[in-house]
Symmetry: C2
Subunit: 144 residues, 2 copies
């Protein structure tokens, strides 16, 4: 029922990395502390962000860096990186409808066409929001 917290953890890490102080190396241990979860979990998520070309991780020496400008990273890019298995569908459909029933035999296709529209609306909105906007919102929140 819900989109996993991986998406939120990934955004947390990206904000942290984007706002990093000079000369500070951001390791998975630091991010794990900030996000309140395990370093291995963080590394798994960072791996997917790396594969998607969103960040660069220095192996061996350690440290994570944005691979693009924050305004070139959309929330959809992040979602697609961390939830490839729920792309394009995040609304579940029951698995075993009866094939011997007019409704059961066709419901999946009918629902998929409606869900496509709903999911597209969500994804389009995700595409319209950049990491830059998240960072700006974060700065505004801190100042208050």
């Amino acid at each position: 029922m819900r989109i996993n917290i991986k998406f939120s953890v990934a955004l947390h890490c990206l904000v942290f990395i984007a706002e990093k102080q000079e000369h500070i190396k951001i390791t998975s241990a630091i991010l794990a502390e900030s996000a309140g979860c395990n370093p291995a979990v963080i590394r798994r998520i960072l791996n997917t962000l790396q594969s998607a070309g969103i960040i660069t991780t220095l192996r061996g020496v350690g440290g994570n860096y944005l691979a693009k400008e924050p305004n070139a990273i959309s929330l959809y890019d992040v979602y697609a990186a961390v939830e490839p298995e729920n792309l394009p569908h995040f609304i579940g459909i029951h698995a075993n409808p009866s094939e011997h029933c007019p409704v059961g035999a066709n419901i999946e296709n009918v629902l998929l066409s409606a869900y496509d529209e709903i999911e597209k609306a969500a994804f389009d909105k995700m595409k319209s929001i950049s990491l830059q906007q998240i960072i700006e919102k974060h700065c505004a929140t801190i100042e208050k």
Copy 2:
């Protein structure tokens, strides 16, 4: 991570009920057979649809009937009925960010404001699609 199949099962039942033949009483057992799940599960879902004023169930004698015209029932109405706990938020946020970190202390509010927009886009689209449209799509699919 995903919206539960309750939403899909509910729509399945509603299509079945809306297209019912005359003189056929639609029980939870029939719907369970069609949807491929347990009658008690069906009854739980139908209960929520009843509470939301979407269907009428005849207790004792049995049978389920639409309480409104199909064009007066939107997908959002159905979603809100079966997933009240994921209303308004279906995107998860990690629970234990560090309070001692500028990012951890503020990330929830920042993410919520972005998620509000994304979720609103999905909900608006759900509001724009009626059960009537699902039924029409279903009929078109069957004819093919």
